[in-house]
Symmetry: C2
Subunit: 199 residues, 2 copies
């Protein structure tokens, strides 16, 4: 039995650290989290950290990538071709709002949190944020373009401009939901955006 | 001459600390700033801090109030009755964008920064943020209502809802300007908002 247990697949130390970092850095932010907070949460020895990461900053970049992977369910809704593009946009933001609600509006969006906290402090984090924000914005833009083509969204504003605006506005709504501990800003976002964009 | 100099009004230690805190907390955030960082910036002895403030958290609330006072030039533009309401809104956001540009887009908005970083960590900061955000939103709402009354802004969305949305969207644009180190998000905000709200 013991040897059987030894053969069970086990998360690597590095994987345990990344998983713990996504949760801890998302919830507490970069500067309020120590390496020891992360290794404690990961239940690994503090000394093992530097076998896998050069620095907390290095880990933060990896944690952002993992957060992005974890967002794929929400992001996938934007490219679900069985659904009309406006409905896809609504579902995308509703799904993100649902995740925020389930977390009691306490953590916000890790990408938004890092965008506020880190650009001046870390160039690698800032550069990774740019990549993720551009990718997210492009996914929104595909929906906007389809919706403009099928006549469900107004065509008098450039699709790329609207997409960047929607993403930033969503991040602002998430920021506000942390202060309010409620979904009022999400409701206002959906109400205003889908009223004013309708053709 | 010397006695003359002695009679010149001189900033109190407390005032020096608050002034330094607004700058330091705004630029670096709460958790990346130590009490010593603030007393160093204020050029006062570290020991003097606790004569004036119970904690860094206590000072953060006071720094937010001072930041709000410093915003009065931008906020005053919203109630300038010589200017049509839509132009007032534009001037308000342009003025805030100008301040951000002058700072190289590095610091963002202190209210937005604290809204992202602090709600889970500090109840007094979160409560002060609520007060300031509601006051700001109300000032925007007055313009929106006037603009709806004079027919320059569409009337099919509730003024309070639009105002909250605009404020949150602005904060999202500021967040993005830190990552981009540029004004693209401000341009998108102005372009989209004033196109879609026009009657």
């Amino acid at each position: 039995m013991t040897s059987h247990i030894h053969h069970m697949p086990r998360a690597s130390t590095k994987e345990q650290i990344v998983t713990a970092a996504v949760e801890t850095l998302h919830r507490k932010g970069f500067n309020a989290t120590s390496v020891e907070d992360i290794t404690n949460a990961a239940k690994v020895p503090k000394g093992s950290f530097y076998n896998h990461f050069k620095s907390k900053e290095d880990l933060a970049v990896e944690a952002l990538d993992r957060y992005w992977q974890n967002m794929q369910t929400s992001l996938g809704l934007l490219s679900d071709e069985k659904t009309p593009p406006v409905a896809r946009l609504k579902r995308h933001f509703r799904q993100l709002g649902k995740v925020a609600r389930e977390g009691g509006y306490r953590a916000g969006c890790m990408i938004g949190n890092m965008s506020t906290e880190m650009p001046e402090q870390s160039r690698p984090v800032r550069e990774r944020l740019t990549v993720l924000l551009v990718a997210w914005s492009c996914a929104i833009e595909s929906c906007i373009k389809e919706a403009q083509a099928d006549g469900s969204i107004r065509r008098d504003i450039d699709a790329r401009t609207v997409s960047g605006f929607l993403l930033n506005s969503w991040e602002g709504a998430v920021m506000r939901s942390k202060v309010d501990r409620g979904a009022g800003s999400f409701a206002a976002f959906e109400d205003v955006v889908f009223t004013v964009l309708a053709l």
